[in-house]
């Protein structure tokens, strides 16, 4: 922890400033009142952002996780629609074939009741008169047919009027949509006045188009084989990237640049910083240029008789190699900077005592540098574990989880589930359940880290020491 702040300050803090604040002031208690008021006001913007974009989303994610929410159900609630599917469910699951038949069989009856309703709606009297004289008592079994009859009336009602009229004469619920449970049941009772409670419940359940509470997401997650695979992928990805690049490789960079003159060292640091400061879209584009069929690597290796191929997606192993390298190159720079400044902070005298031949250098690294870097290493490890767990942009743009889902990691799977469906039905609920898992892991890990880095000491004494 302290290492990262140390480097921030090493660059920007005027010398001497640190020394002054060594003693926590005892006057503070006296300013408590004004300090509290001002503190709350100054904290307000941060609090608003935290509530809006962290707390509420987390709570909502927790809520969504226990629903079957998807594009089809909508987020904001549903209606009741008597679709053929709903009727089938009524018949199959609840054994209410008769009710389904009754509700779903389209039938249009021209009766006085309907004509009265038309009058109330303000439909042109001429149309009503035509209907009453020519068609009273007629029954039609198909909506299309009935509406054809309406259109052929001498008055030639327009399409929307036709729809309003046919709605009034419809004596079934097929395909009608109700905004509330009550209106659905009222309409259903219009068709069959002897609905039992049980039938009502089944009807409501079968026709509801919105989301419902369920723990199915977690059951599905626990029993899906993909879950295990994605979990293992994620662990593999995080562990490998972390060990190879974010720590070991970063350490290599820090140590080698330590042992070369400042000018080339600076250049190498800039080079290794490019991946981090580059926007992901361009950075990954460059890798594609490098690794694709028509890219640099293929063209270069072609000279040696190696068949051009898409090196990035050629095999699962290749894809992993590139996913880890692409993410690792971005991550390496953080370790590099933190370790470099930590090495710089090691007293020169420790090095001076030693000679400079190659063999001894290794001993310097082993006995002087590495032990001094224990805390920075731990910090980088912890910080980057969380970052890697939730990183998505580079992998999404590079392999998108391919080939064959080989590089699908947890965060990417969330994106694919909740926001990416070829057939237009995004699975918000299941995606939220997966996100919730990550949120819980994140909270637990960061709490552990706070303990490891002795958080209380940090707050109590807002002074920095290495």
């Amino acid at each position: 922890m302290s290492a990262s702040r140390d480097i921030v300050e090493a660059a920007a803090v005027p010398a001497g400033a640190a020394a002054a604040s060594a003693h926590p002031p005892r006057w503070r208690a006296g300013w408590l009142n004004s300090s509290r008021g001002l503190g709350l006001i100054l904290l307000m913007p941060a609090l608003v952002l935290v509530v809006l974009f962290f707390l509420m989303p987390v709570v909502l994610t927790g809520v969504f996780a226990f629903t079957n929410m998807s594009t089809a159900t909508g987020i904001s609630g549903g209606t009741y629609q008597v679709t053929p599917g709903a009727l089938r469910e009524l018949a199959d699951r609840h054994g209410m074939d008769e009710l389904a038949e009754k509700l779903g069989q389209p039938s249009f009856v021209v009766d006085e009741q309907g004509l009265k309703a038309l009058e109330e709606m303000g439909i042109e009297p001429a149309i009503i008169a035509d209907l009453r004289e020519g068609h009273l008592g007629e029954t039609h079994a198909s909506r299309r047919e009935f509406e054809r009859m309406l259109r052929d009336l001498p008055e030639r009602p327009d399409t929307r009027t036709v729809k309003r009229i046919s709605g009034e004469f419809s004596r079934s619920l097929a395909n009608s949509r109700f905004s509330s449970r009550e209106s659905l049941l009222a309409a259903a009772e219009g068709v069959d006045p002897e609905l039992t409670e049980e039938e009502k419940t089944a009807l409501v359940q079968a026709t509801y188009t919105g989301w419902v509470w369920t723990a199915d997401n977690f059951r599905r997650m626990a029993s899906s084989r993909d879950t295990v695979r994605i979990l293992l992928n994620t662990i593999f990805f995080v562990a490998t990237t972390l060990i190879i690049f974010n720590t070991a490789f970063a350490m290599l960079l820090a140590i080698t640049t330590h042992y070369i003159p400042e000018r080339p060292a600076g250049i190498f640091r800039i080079i290794w910083f490019l991946p981090r400061i580059s926007p992901a879209v361009i950075y990954v584009l460059l890798w594609k240029w490098f690794a694709w069929d028509t890219g640099f690597l293929s063209a270069f290796l072609d000279n040696f008789g190696i068949r051009p191929r898409n090196w990035m997606l050629d095999t699962a192993a290749n894809a992993w190699f590139f996913v880890i390298v692409i993410n690792g190159f971005v991550g390496a720079s953080m370790g590099m900077v933190i370790f470099s400044s930590a090495i710089k902070a090691i007293p020169e005298s420790l090095f001076h005592a030693a000679s400079v031949d190659g063999a001894y250098r290794w001993q310097q690294v082993r006995h002087i540098i590495l032990p001094q870097l224990k805390w920075p290493i731990l910090f980088v490890t912890c910080y980057q574990t969380l970052s890697l767990l939730t990183s998505i942009e580079q992998t999404l743009l590079a392999t998108d989880g391919g080939p064959g889902g080989a590089t699908e990691i947890w965060s990417l799977a969330i994106y694919h589930t909740a926001l990416n469906n070829y057939a237009g039905n995004l699975q918000y609920g299941y995606g939220a359940a997966m996100a919730l898992v990550l949120v819980v892991i994140g909270i637990v890990l960061s709490l552990i880290y706070l303990r490891v880095f002795n958080y209380r000491a940090l707050v109590a004494k807002p002074r920095i020491e290495l």
């Binding site: 962290f54 003159p261 949120v439």
Partner: protein, 274 residues
Amino acid sequence: MTGHLKSWPFVLALSIISAPIVLMYSYLFIDTITNSPPGSFIPHEFTLEHWRFLWETRPGKPSIWRVTLNSFLFASSSCLVVLVVSSTAGYVLSRLNVPGRAFFLAGVMVLHAFPAVTLIVAIFLVLQMVGLYNSLIGVILVKAAIDMPLGIWIMKGFYDTVPWEIEMAGIADGASRFTVWRKLVLPQVKPGLFALGLFAFLLGWSEFILPQVLAPGGDVQVLSVYLAGLIADDNNFDMAMFKSVGLFYIAPVLILFLFFQKYLMNIYGGGTKG
């Protein structure tokens, strides 16, 4: 420094492992102003045709200048919000005795574990509730919120180093704590504000997923989404053109980085990306 005499093995080793990056970024530049014969990577002619996108708007796409302006508005506004929020909250957490201070500070650390993408559906819903979906303001706020935890930590670190004596002198002169913060303390952390501002600007400039999902509309499109859209469009595969747009997009980043690399390295060292 230790071991100047035999540094060449290190330079050599570093050069070899750095080669892919150097290669990629060199060709990012070379390919935008030259053509190479098919199958070769040695340019044989100079051309500016890949930069056509600057003066020719592709049918169905917004003008590059509009998109650039959006990117600039997005990055600078989110930078501004981050600065305001971090400089106030950081001060509170460093200096003021408010209830729950320790808790808030720990909370800020934990927030780092909540990346936008896992919560994006819920964030979308919040934006929609406050009517900011598909607007720049909405993504700006979300982006600022996500960069905020680190900003607060960084600013707290800077405030921690400001001598208490400065504040005490101010109070003794009869100034309120607010005045003291604004007139006396804030100038002391200018380097911090500058570094954080630069950092937040670049983060905003680079952001891809948030605008892609939360502001897909053509008139609020930013450069990253524009470029990703070009690449995803399989009707006009033109690597040199992608790279030209890419170079156009990354140029401000590179310039800022080369000028202020010390600041950025330090702050990015603790940055948010994996």
